[in-house]
Amino acid sequence: MDWTALGLSLQLGVVNVLCLVPVGIGVGRVLAYRRFRGKGLAEAAVALPLVLPPTVLGYYLLVAFGAASPIGHFWQLVFDQPLVFTFEALLIASIIFNLPFAIQPMQRAFEAIPPEVREAAACCGMSPWRALLSVELPLAWPGIVTAMVLSFAHTLGEFGIVLMVGGSIPGETRTIAIAIYDRVQAFDEAAAGQMSALLLALSLSVIALTFAFSRRVGRQLG
């Protein structure tokens, strides 16, 4: 049982979600409320990671911030280590890869708010910010929670991208999914089995809690 790897995976999942919540809310709202030229293209770009093979994304990420790239150079200058093979690289890759899981449910949730309700909020004297806090977020909450859970669960399971961009550095980029792969190769079936069972239980309980939670919120909203 590789506790370090588990901790790493959980950390990656949580930080990922924390970063994606504001992005999801911001972009989800814009896509839900506004019509503009190129919106179709924007939505397609957001949805792209859903259909893109992880290795393709991994390849382009390596090109984009590998040691030879401008971003890689910059990182090296500032932090005295390359960007690839670090937790930060995994985080960046995860955030990009999880964009559709974060944005789409939130977009649907904001779309489901009747435009009249938002207009009513303005007529009640609520500034756009207050309307967001008092009306939009409470109503979109189930969608936001769904987005957070999906992103978290998806991050726990990421493999191809993590391997390409992170290597399998124990304590830095060896997530639990990679650790399972590693243990299988080492003929350590006991450890692989333990970790797999744990991940399965974790994923199931997270999903079950989410569904129960959103049913409960749904009931409150009538």
Partner: protein
């Protein structure tokens, strides 16, 4: 307490646990004090034993990453934070040294050997002449055969060399199952999903693998030698340097020999005990 109430509490407890993990885990998690060693997959069983000995001896620990040597060489060029590289082929180490990534040109730590392995219940026999393999190809007993990836794993390259030399490559190529590294190839070869494979001697010697089938050493003059070389990478810390010296000492050499790794001067000592 009704169901809704319980769900609310469970949800909150879960979030609290997650936050704790995120911010409280750093102590054991990402602290990069223990240096990371890049080791060829054929050391999968040998090196952990040496690491344990090192820990018992000095009280310090190192972390090991196993994989194919070619893959590690690529990662090191890209700046991966390894401090010591144990390659299965000295060519990788020497190239890296010439390109300025290594502290020095390192030392030879072993001569590797390859074996043909047949899992229990396989219709193939593991024989060092590979004759049964040849007949197995023609009479259809062989459906799948595992080797490491010749593109970047030294053990895979030697497997291909041997198969070509024996004139089996063209016939066997459509039936090959390629492992990412020699460990994965051993995994495939030991499973009942293949009829066998060519893997590292060191892996076959490990009880976990040898219990799963039979193997036979392939004559070493059938392939270029597996001169396994290791070297410290530029910027390696003191702990990695100490480990590097430790690995060359007698205590470690015993472990190497146990797994069939010999140095040129040790060859005569082990020839007698080696499999046919």
């Amino acid at each position: 307490m009704d169901a809704q109430h319980a769900i609310g509490i469970a949800g909150r407890a879960f979030c609290a646990a997650l936050i704790t993990v995120t911010f409280g885990w750093s102590a054991g998690g990402r602290a990069a004090e223990a240096p990371v060693i890049a080791a060829a997959s054929d050391l999968q069983f040998a090196l952990p034993e040496i690491v344990e000995m090192f820990a018992a001896d000095t009280g310090s620990t190192v972390k090991v990453s196993f994989g194919s040597s070619g893959n590690f060489a690529r990662q090191i060029r890209q700046g991966a934070p390894y401090e010591l590289f144990l390659s299965a082929d000295e060519g990788f180490v020497l190239d890296l040294f010439r390109e300025g990534f290594m502290r020095d040109d390192g030392v030879l730590y072993a001569l590797g050997r390859i074996v043909i392995f047949a899992p229990l219940g396989s219709p193939l026999h593991a024989d060092s002449s590979l004759d049964d393999l040849r007949t197995g190809l023609t009479d259809g007993r062989l459906a799948k055969f595992a080797i490491a990836n010749p593109a970047h794993a030294p053990y895979g390259q030697r497997a291909e060399e041997v198969l070509r030399r024996r004139g089996l490559w063209d016939a066997i190529m459509p039936k090959l199952v390629i492992g990412e590294n020699v460990s994965q190839a051993a995994q495939f070869a030991a499973s009942s999903n293949t009829q066998g494979g060519i893997i590292a001697y060191s892996l076959a010697l490990s009880p976990r693998v040898s219990a799963r089938g039979t193997f036979a050493l392939i004559p070493e003059d059938w392939h270029a030698p597996l001169r396994q070389r290791m070297a410290l990478i530029k910027g390696a810390g003191s702990l990695a340097t100490r480990f590097y010296s430790f690995v060359r000492r007698d205590a470690a050499r015993v472990v190497f020999r146990k797994y069939g790794f010999v140095l040129p001067h040790e060859v005569d000592l082990t020839e007698a005990g080696a499999a046919r």
